[in-house]
């Protein structure tokens, strides 16, 4: 895809921002301390990154999916975890409110999320309900004008910093599976909400992840988002948009692997010449370049289909997410391989890229779940 003037200018903005601001010191600090960098969060918010997908009337920039994809890709090309900073509010965090929230909810939550003042996260996964999200056991039982929530959500990215969480809970216990589930937005500071310990993750460190526990948490019925008992379909729709974000992030990581591999292959000398002169290495670089380009085109294509509200968009997002996530892992493997022993040392960026890439084929629907989505749309 050849970008039009507007998107080319936006790509330039995101690239310049990431290359200048995401210094090696900040990247290393995130990876070693695992702590959230509030200064960076605020700086990204100041330039409007938190609200690219949020409509203008709710404080965002009202940009399209292609702008969003370009942003996440360019940020992830320098640092995947910092791409997640800007991704959440546009995707899993703000997404459910944008999709299903009523006017009052949109007016209240979205401007605060778009400005970066508040952080909203997404709580679907439970210890016993991962890919099988219909297995949700968290409950929200009506009590007068309120609901009482009990349950445990796990692997909640951003929970330690979050002000609000969008959760999915069973509201009709007589219904089985994905039926009878509703969506709620819950204030993280309410009595009965507590956090588990931060998970020690393989990668994407610097965006803490933990369990969120709900013990008799009382929320008013205003916190119900979308129609009662229809929350599951909104969870799926939110993830649909999220997949475009992961596809973009994976493309950024894959590109970064290629950049690092090319640079190193030209610098590193063995047997008296740069290792780029050996076909074993140059062929790996060619494979990576093809993977990166294919991932990028699939991702941009899916973004454009989403902008057109195409019925093909869901499948296209799954194809892009599936391919790009696997491509990022293939590219990370090859980038480390080209670096040899140095690729296994933390001083070289590919070591972190290898760890960061690994989650791409897992979160927001594993590669296998994407294969199910893709094939079931063909075999129905």
């Amino acid at each position: 895809m050849i970008l039009d003037k507007k998107h080319a200018l936006q790509q330039k903005l995101f690239r310049e921002f990431a290359e200048n601001e995401f210094t090696k010191e900040i990247q290393d600090e995130l990876d070693t301390t695992h702590e959230f960098n509030w200064d960076m969060h605020k700086k990204m918010a100041k330039y409007g990154f938190m609200g690219v997908k949020i409509p203008k009337e709710y404080g965002g920039t009202g940009s399209d999916h292609l702008t969003y994809a370009l942003m996440v890709e360019e940020l992830a090309r320098v640092d995947a975890v910092l791409a997640i900073y800007a991704n959440t509010s546009n995707s899993l965090g703000g997404g459910p409110i944008m999709l299903a929230g009523n006017e009052e909810q949109k007016k209240f939550y979205l401007p605060q999320v778009a400005s970066g003042e508040k952080i909203m996260v997404f709580g679907l996964t439970e210890p016993g309900a991962g890919s099988d999200a219909g297995g949700t056991t968290t409950t929200a039982i009506p009590d007068g004008d309120d609901y009482i929530i009990n349950g445990r959500k796990c692997f909640i990215s951003g929970a330690p910093m979050a002000d609000w969480i969008v959760i999915f809970a069973k509201t009709d216990l007589t219904k089985k599976g994905s039926k009878g589930i509703s969506m709620f937005v819950v204030d993280m500071h309410l009595p009965g909400v507590s956090l588990g310990a931060n998970e020690k993750k393989m990668g994407i460190n610097g965006y803490p992840t933990c369990d969120v526990v709900f013990e008799d948490v009382r929320v008013s019925k205003d916190c119900l988002v979308g129609p009662l008992n229809k929350g599951f379909q909104y969870a799926m729709k939110t993830l649909d948009g999220g997949r475009l974000g992961v596809a973009s992030m994976s493309t950024g990581i894959a590109q970064s692997c290629l950049d690092e591999a090319v640079k190193y292959a030209k610098e590193r000398k063995q047997f008296g010449r740069p290792i780029a002169d050996f076909q074993g290495v140059s062929f790996m670089i060619a494979e990576m370049a093809a993977d990166v380009e294919a991932a990028r085109q699939l991702t941009y294509h899916a973004a454009v289909l989403k902008d057109q509200n195409s019925p093909e968009a869901t499948k296209a997002c799954s194809i892009a997410k599936y391919f790009a996530a696997e491509a990022a892992n293939r590219c990370a493997y090859k980038a480390v391989q080209i670096h040899g022993g140095y690729g296994y040392i933390q001083e070289y960026k590919v070591e972190r890229l290898y760890r960061d890439a690994r989650i791409m084929s897992i979160f927001e629907g594993t590669s296998q779940v994407q294969q199910i989505v893709i094939s079931s749309s063909l075999l129905k």
Binding site: K5, K6, L9, Q10, K12, L13, E16, F17, K46, Y47, G48, F49, G51, V52, K56, T61, G62, S63, T67, M71
Partner: protein
């Protein structure tokens, strides 16, 4: 109450420099960037806009593709842009350029509380002449090499940076200030800016719009009218990679002496 900023699109000199047979730069074959010092001038204007509500108007002279740069500046927060563009203006040196830009700025209008900013110099010609020449032609006071700018009513207090110190100069508006990179760190475009800059005002001033202005003399504009003749342009040969020796002890000086002796320098 406005700030006019003159900006220039320059070749990205981090790549190879291409030259036309007549000695001028082959701008078409090179990537272009916004002249770095001009971005400092833009930032200075936007900082004052944030504080005092100035309208910021950027002026450039160049071919039609310079519109891309002007859109980018509007995405950063510039309110309006003017592209001075005509075949007759092509190939102008600093004398001719400042004449045309001064006429364009004067045509647009300069009020008593206005400020004009320019970058110190452009990275292609490195002359640092256009800003001061515009000031002279518009009969405005000028302060060059601004490293700090403070506003108090109709007076600006400027730290004018010199090699070994600085002068503090007070100047009344309207005036011309040229900015150096130490003045500030230019902001990025904003996402909303990249969405909205396409519908923001960009005026093109052609030859007809300026030809009757008193500053314009048809015999002293464009390549033919420019008093400067370029004898030759070339990419200077790369210097060899230097060597760094670290340490303040005798060991380091001995090593240095050894290297110099080895090269028969001492």
């Amino acid at each position: 109450m406005k700030i006019i900023v003159t900006v220039k699109q320059v070749p990205d000199t981090s790549g190879k420099v291409a030259v036309n047979p007549d000695g001028t730069l082959d701008r078409a074959s090179m990537q272009t960037i916004i002249n770095p010092d001009d971005l400092n001038a833009i930032e200075a204007a936007l900082t004052l806009k944030d504080e005092y509500g100035y309208k910021v108007v950027a002026f450039t002279m160049g071919p039609a593709p310079a519109e891309g740069m002007l859109r980018e500046l509007m995405a950063m927060g510039v309110d309006e842009t003017v592209l001075v563009s005509a075949r007759e203006f092509g190939g102008s040196d600093t004398y001719a350029t400042s004449q045309i830009l001064a006429a364009a700025i004067d045509t647009y209008g300069v009020d008593d509380d206005d400020i004009i900013f320019a970058g110190r110099q452009a990275i292609d010609g490195d002359t640092a002449q256009v800003g001061p020449q515009i000031a002279e032609k518009l009969h405005l006071p000028q302060v060059t090499y601004a490293g700090e700018i403070k506003k108090d009513g109709d007076t600006l207090t400027i730290n004018r940076m010199l090699e070994d110190g600085y002068m503090v100069i007070k100047v009344k508006t309207p005036c011309m200030i040229t900015c150096i990179k130490e003045l500030n760190t230019p902001r990025y475009m904003s996402v909303i800016g990249t969405e909205e800059c396409w519908d923001m005002p960009l005026t093109v001033m052609g030859y007809d719009a300026l030809k009757d202005h008193e500053l314009i003399d048809a015999t002293t504009i464009g390549l033919k009218g420019s008093p400067t003749n370029i004898y030759k342009s070339f990419t200077p040969p790369q210097k060899g990679v230097g060597m760094m020796l670290e340490g303040a002890g005798k060991e380091t000086t001995d090593k240095l002496a050894g290297i110099l002796a080895g090269k028969h320098i001492i």
